[in-house]
């Protein structure tokens, strides 16, 4: 069984590397969750590993960063913005823009005179309610 496990997870000897206890803590932070069966916990941990691999390789392949032998933050935020599957990450992987550009954007918004409720870039005081 151990050999099969090694084959499945590549060079790792273990079936899963992420600590189940930590995964459990994150899962339990969701208030609606009462209990988690052991198989579900394992699957979530394993899925997270697959996710990390997928996010990294996808971003590396599709990244438009200048460096060819590196994975950069820009590659990741490109992915979050452009690939539908990773769009749930858009808020935590925002694109970086020059401060001067950002200030210009703010000025333009002020001039337009409208308060756009769904656009809260950079405003940390406002908390968006997630339905």
């Amino acid at each position: 069984a151990e050999m099969a496990a090694a084959r499945l997870s590549g060079t790792e000897n273990r079936l899963v590397s992420l600590p189940l206890s930590r995964i459990r803590v994150i899962m339990k932070s969701s208030p609606e969750v009462s209990s988690i069966n052991q198989d579900a916990l394992f699957l979530t941990a394993k899925a997270t590993e697959l996710f990390v691999q997928y996010l990294a390789t996808y971003s590396y392949k599709h990244g438009r960063g200048k460096e060819k032998n590196a994975l950069t933050y820009t590659d990741l935020s490109h992915t979050a913005e452009e690939c539908e599957t990773f769009q749930f990450l858009a808020d935590i992987l925002p694109k970086k823009i020059l401060a001067s550009k950002y200030l210009k954007m703010l000025e333009k918004e002020k001039r337009d005179g409208e308060v756009r409720e769904d656009h809260d870039e950079g405003e940390e005081e406002e908390d968006e309610d997630e339905a």
Binding site: N37, L43, Y60
Partner: protein, 143 residues
Amino acid sequence: MAERPEDLNLPNAVITRIIKEALPEGVNISKEARSAISRAASVFVLYATSCANNFAMKGKRKTLNAGDVLSAMEEMEFQRFVAPLKESLEVYRREQKGKKEARKDKDKKADSEEQDKSREEDNDDDDERMEEEEQNDEEEVDN
């Protein structure tokens, strides 16, 4: 959410290792990229949990099970994960079964050893115990 995603993070060393093994050799990962992926992973867990929980609730269950997580993957457009996850689950279940049986054997041994000690104290004769004792003498050498 009560906790911010940054407070629920995964060990850096493990995340880094997973990334390194996924990418071609020699590719560098900036610290910022690594930290971003780690945060993304935490968010993924939250998203997957919430999704899986919806399936559990639909099934009127309070406990998240394997099926809920797999359904969540499909819902989240990570169908590509389903097959490898099912494979891994098989191995995991076999491992757990093996561990359980090893524990059962250990418990049996421990029980017999305890009976052994109490026997020295009250000198009780029990046919069954005597048989186990003989086995125990051999087993204790291994310990």
